[in-house]
């Protein structure tokens, strides 16, 4: 047999004498599950945009109200219903922030107001910029509180129910089914009738039914995991229930848990806005996004700016949390790994 491409010299046909070496796996840096997930998340443009938007909105919610000298409940009937006016940008008339309302009159000149109101004012003359960021802060606060409570109750309930199984699981699941059977809105209305409307009672109303979906997801995960051989191995080593749940079961369900929480937050913000909108939410003078939408809605045709800014912010929050949640789901999914 002749091989053209290279010369076959005699010395090539000697034993190489190379002993077998187990290949060292140094070619790839050791990466943890979390690091891998973060790398995948960063590659996802939508999720990354969502993350940046969330950070921006949180920053404004924290510092926005202090950016001008107006208080969120400062009323002044001489400056009611002013359209938005922003320095510098006011010269670009197409942006609609020059203080001119939809009928074409410059309200600032007409009412002789020297200040700038970046988002305009409402029907009581309160500065909308301050109120909207104050409202965002409260909405986010309620959402995070509700999501955290959901997380704690749901994870505890779900993992206990699945881990012990049998009769305990049976009873615990029936309780969940009863809770699921009652319409959410009725529970909320009843609670708010008993308790005074406020941040705590709204949060409570949302948590009372909200943790159920988390509990179900955690239960499913734990049921799947507890029959796996690494859990059995741990049991044969003599691990206690506590070690098993905290060491093996919950860390391996973290992906779905984080994702569910990410989707709970926008839902909670929307529920709060919705409750405030139908008048069951927070009471004036406290601002929340839902209440500002409600106020603006009444005068939509005359002063559209009042509805516009608040609803845009609600939408941005919802979209960015959903984008991030979506991206997290993909990045935690081990099937996405090569």
């Amino acid at each position: 047999m002749k091989v053209n491409e290279y010369e076959l010299t005699d010395d090539l046909f000697e034993e190489s004498g190379k002993a077998f070496e187990e290949k060292r796996i140094t070619s790839r840096p050791s990466s943890t599950f979390m690091k891998d997930s973060w790398l995948r998340l960063r590659k996802n443009k939508g999720a990354f945009t969502g993350l940046i938007l969330i950070i921006l909105i949180m920053f404004l919610a924290a510092f926005g109200p202090y950016m001008n000298s107006h208080g969120f409940d400062e009323q002044d009937l001489t400056r009611t219903n002013l359209p938005p006016k922003v320095p510098v940008l006011e010269n670009l008339s197409f942006l609609g922030v020059s203080g001119v309302d939809i009928r074409g009159t410059d309200q600032y000149a007409a009412k002789e107001v020297p200040d700038y109101y970046w988002f305009g004012t409402d029907d009581l003359g309160r500065d909308l910029w301050t109120r909207i960021w104050q409202g965002t802060r409260i909405s986010l606060y309620i959402a995070f509180l509700a999501a955290t409570l959901d997380l704690v109750i749901g994870v505890a309930y779900g993992s206990i129910s699945a881990y012990y199984g049998g009769r305990i699981d049976n009873v615990m699941q029936r309780i969940i089914e009863v809770l699921m059977g009652i319409p959410n809105l009725i529970v909320v209305i009843l609670l708010i009738l008993i308790l005074k409307p406020g941040i705590m009672s709204i949060t409570l109303a949302m948590v009372i039914t909200g943790w159920v979906s988390m509990a179900r997801i955690v239960r499913g995960q734990v049921l799947k995991l507890k029959g796996q051989e690494f859990v059995l191995a741990s049991r044969t080593l003599g691990a206690k229930d506590k070690n098993l749940i905290w060491g093996h079961l919950i860390p391996n369900s973290l992906g779905p848990i984080i994702i569910t929480t990410m989707f709970t937050i926008p839902t909670a913000i929307f529920t709060e806005a919705f409750l405030s909108f139908i008048g069951l939410g927070l009471q004036p003078p406290i601002a929340s996004l839902g209440m500002i939408v409600n106020d603006g809605f009444k005068m939509l045709k005359i002063y559209p700016h009042m509805l516009m800014f608040s609803s845009v912010i609600i939408s941005l929050i919802m979209i960015s949390f959903n984008l991030l949640g979506d991206g997290l789901r993909d990045s935690f999914d081990p099937k996405m790994k090569k």
Binding site: L12, E14, A19, E22, R28, L232, A233, T236, L237, P251
Partner: protein, 660 residues
């Protein structure tokens, strides 16, 4: 030999992944002749399945693509056919049988409709005629009472019967080529033997060409006319079955054949192929096997060997066959003979007289819903002596895994007693018990927590029992364990997904060893691994037993491995032991009809033996009577039988062995 029916020429298939191009098939060339069975063997990831799917046009797109090469069937190139043309081919000309019969049948369709589908799609006959054909097909594949059973759904059939239905489906349009992709891997040995017989029978009747893909060399010896050995996406050796088995040329083929335990002789250590197959993302230059070949030539690392002809029908891709290599070949042969002479001297193992484990009438019943009880383990009694390996074999569902799990108290036994060193395990302090009895699990992929580092996984037992004095001491112990199981120190900070199956199984073994157990239950520890890796793990287990004086309960369905590793073997059937004997005695002189049929079903990697094999069908015996229990026939050889049968067994046991 008859005419060519299919020829594959220089086929290259690649998959595009995140990390780059995985070259799954790298230049495969072979011909398939009419009426023959060509077996394709190789480890997982060798590209054998991908290659066979490409013949059916089943490469998943867009990630997979055929880079180069032709597949010629009846003067047409399958790689260039349109989807419509391929559809015409599938089922009618070329059909395929997949590994898992359960998932290849639609659970919501009756058998009749499923088979009918294919017939009506390809043949212009009326529904009535087609239905008649379905029944005759089912009769052909050996399903009795076919006209009744066609109306049933897949779940009403057993695993073996389901695979028969799948075969009937594949045969519905008299295909010229049948591709069988590991059709018996998911089945028990006795069922596997039946399916293999069926395939051979059908081939005789219908003159079909079969491409049989498997990793089991025993099955190959049983069914194949020719064998193609694949490694790292290439055919490294191809030839008639007897040529490849008795005169292997490629070092990989030689290694594979040597790694299989030989039932006929005693071996101290199995020969192994070190390491694991290469990652086809970065295919190595030269001979892909050179990295794992300790006798590789220098040229193997530089240039890819072409196919050298050994005979008209036999060729292999190795530089050893080049004329300039003749000097080296002689040298290597001498070396091997020398090694063989050394390894043939087997020192006999000393086994203690002390009972380490006594199981008395163990029962494990599970509630099966609606007042039914599943008797997974039903009255099991056996003893295990210190330092021995007790093998437990049986078909899937016979309760062998449940027995193992009950012994480590993963389940609480329904009734019966288990004494560990004379103490009842159900009364003993559970924590101490967990230190003395440990378990090695089957699936190396699910038995390690993916979120923990290897060091934490191995040290888990030490954490629980407080077996170290300081953090540094803990790491020291972990390093020592890693070394014991053949891994390196730097593996400690890695996560499980970075390891191959064999390495993961080593980590699992290290975890079990961490608490210094006396007794280890190995629940099918090698059945999920490739052949060359199986031998590595088996050798490791044997070595550890010698060094640490361990006692094993070795649970498996692979009887040849059990015979190799065990001192005594128990055969289980439907939750009961039917025969217990020293492993050589059991294999040479099986008495119980079930053991006989089980042994006659194991395929041996030796074509000559396979040709002479007579399979003994499962006999009938009453198992459910009080009288029926384990009785000692000859010393140390126990068989489940009634009082009356004892004498007949005794006379039989003097007769010479029936099996080869």
């Amino acid at each position: 030999m008859m005419g060519k029916i299919l020829s594959v020429d220089d086929l290259h298939i690649s998959f595009d992944t995140y990390d780059g191009e995985v070259r799954a098939v790298r230049g495969v060339t072979f011909d398939l002749y009419k009426g023959e069975t060509l077996a394709v063997v190789g480890e997982s990831g060798s590209g054998k399945s991908v290659m066979s799917k490409s013949i059916m046009g089943l490469i998943p797109k867009p990630s997979g693509r055929i880079v180069n090469g032709t597949i010629t069937y009846q003067d047409r190139d399958i790689t260039k056919m349109s989807n419509k043309e391929i559809r015409g081919l599938r089922g009618s000309e070329i059909s395929i049988i997949f590994q898992d019969p359960m998932s290849s049948l639609n659970p919501t369709m009756t058998i009749n409709n499923q088979i009918l589908e294919g017939i009506l799609a390809h043949q212009k006959i009326t529904r009535k005629e087609a239905e008649k054909k379905v029944i005759s097909l089912l009769e052909l594949v050996g399903i009795s009472n076919a006209s009744e059973r066609v109306k049933q759904y897949p779940h009403q059939f057993s695993g073996g019967m389901q695979q028969r239905v799948v075969i009937a489906m594949a045969l519905a349009c008299n295909p010229a080529i049948l591709i069988a992709d590991e059709p018996t891997t998911a089945l028990d040995v006795t069922v596997q033997a039946q399916v293999l017989e069926l395939l051979k029978d059908i081939q005789k009747k219908m003159d079909t060409s079969i491409i049989f893909i498997t990793h089991d060399l025993g099955v190959v010896a049983n069914i194949a006319d020719r064998v193609a050995v694949m490694y790292a996406g290439k055919v490294v050796e191809i030839g008639r079955t007897d040529e490849v088995f008795y005169n292997p040329q490629h070092p990989y083929t030689k290694g594979l054949l040597a790694a299989m335990p030989d039932l006929t002789i005693d071996q101290e250590e199995l020969q192994t192929i070190p390491g694991s197959p290469p990652n086809l993302l970065y295919p190595p230059p030269g001979d892909a096997f050179a990295l794992r070949n300790e006798q590789a030539l220098k040229i193997d690392f530089l240039h890819e060997p072409p196919m050298f002809k050994v005979s008209e029908t036999h060729s292999a891709a190795t530089w050893l066959l080049h004329e300039k290599a003749s000097k080296v070949t002689k040298l290597l042969e001498e070396k091997q003979q020398l090694e063989k002479a050394i390894s043939d001297q087997v020192p006999k193992k000393e086994i203690g007289k002390e009972k380490i484990l006594e199981v008395k009438d163990l029962k494990q019943h599970f509630k099966g819903g609606k007042n039914s009880v599943i008797k997974a383990v039903d009255g099991l009694s056996f003893d295990i002596y210190e330092g021995e390996t007790f093998g437990l074999v049986g078909e899937s569902g016979c309760g062998k895994s449940t027995t193992g799990r009950t012994l480590v108290r993963l389940y609480d036994a329904t009734s019966g007693e288990v004494f560990f060193k004379g103490v009842d395990i159900h009364k003993k302090n559970a924590l101490n018990l967990n230190k003395d009895i440990q378990m090695i699990f089957q699936d190396p992929y699910s038995s390690l927590n993916p979120r923990w580092t290897v060091a934490d996984i191995i040290a888990e037992g030490m954490d629980i029992h407080g077996l170290y004095t300081s953090k540094a001491n803990r790491m020291e112990k972990v390093y020592e364990l890693l070394k014991t199981v053949g891994l390196a120190e730097e593996h400690a900070n890695r996560y499980p997904h970075e390891f191959s199956g064999g390495q993961r199984q080593r980590i699992g073994i290290a975890r079990a060893l961490a608490v210094d157990p006396k007794f280890i239950i190995a629940d099918e520890p090698i059945s999920a691994l490739d052949v060359s890796i199986q031998a590595q793990i088996t050798n490791l287990l044997k070595k550890l037993q010698k060094e640490k004086n361990l006692t094993y309960l070795f649970i498996a369905h692979d009887l040849s491995m059990v015979k190799y590793i065990s001192d005594r073997v128990g055969v289980m059937y439907q939750g009961k032991l039917v025969e217990v004997a020293a492993s050589d005695e059991l294999y040479d002189n099986p008495l119980h009809p079930y053991t006989k049929s089980l042994l006659s079903a194991i395929p041996v990697p030796d074509p000559e033996v396979e040709k002479k094999r007579i399979r003994i069908p499962k006999g009938k015996w009453t198992i459910d009577s009080e009288e029926y229990k384990l009785r000692e026939i000859t010393e140390g050889h126990w068989v489940a039988c009634t009082e009356d049968e004892v004498d007949s067994y005794r006379t039989k046991s003097d007769a010479p062995a029936v099996l080869v």
